[in-house]
Amino acid sequence: MSGNGWIEWLVGILVFIGVLFSFLSALGLIRFPDVYTRSHAVSKSANLGVLFILLGTFVYFLLKDGYFSIRLLLGVFFVFLTSPVVAHLLNRAAYRTNVRLAAGSIRDDLHDYLQTEEQKHN
């Protein structure tokens, strides 16, 4: 069994990277000032962390038991596909319901663009 120690090291490194990303995104979720920056922190690093953890699980069961789990691969694919869509829709909903930017923000190009579009309509 001592010859199999490298599998646990490999899986341990993958899981450690994933947990680290998840922890950092939780830190960003607490500390960032407004909804857009928080969404930036959550939508990228939390999902990357989950991808690393699922990949670690997949590698663990593949190397340890020889069990190729297509369900875990589908989970990786699905999380990878849906996380940007969720972030995009939530940010758009936040902007359309007039959630303000943080106090220190200096540019809001989308606001100017929507203003000119509205003037073109009238």
């Binding site: 899981v15 450690f16 998840s22 830190l27 979720l29 663990y60 989970g75 699905f78 999380v79 319901t97």
Partner: protein
């Protein structure tokens, strides 16, 4: 050793779920809360993956996929509700 490492990872994931829970309770706007709930779902998914390694069983892989899909559908429904006031739009007959 490996089991101890996996339990430590579960504790850190619990910490990040608690951080998201803080954002759910305190979050000043509604999209904040929905985003934090989606993050809780994603962290839960990772926790189940680690738990299935901890218990060395194949039985939870369906649950991982299921939680991913349910979290996606719920968040999309909430985003549509926040933006338009309805989730499923009705086609008018006239």
């Amino acid at each position: 050793m490996f089991q101890l490492f996996l339990s430590g990872s579960l504790v850190i994931l619990l910490g990040s779920i608690l951080a998201a829970l803080y954002r759910v309770i305190k979050g000043p706007s509604m999209p904040d809360r929905v985003m934090a709930l989606d993050n809780i779902g994603v962290n839960l998914l990772a926790g189940i993956a680690i738990l299935s390694m901890f218990l060395r069983t194949y039985a939870f892989f369906d649950i991982i996929l299921l939680i991913g899909i349910l979290s996606f559908v719920g968040t999309i429904a909430f985003a549509r509700f926040l933006e338009r006031g309805v989730v499923v739009e009705r086609k008018r007959l006239d």
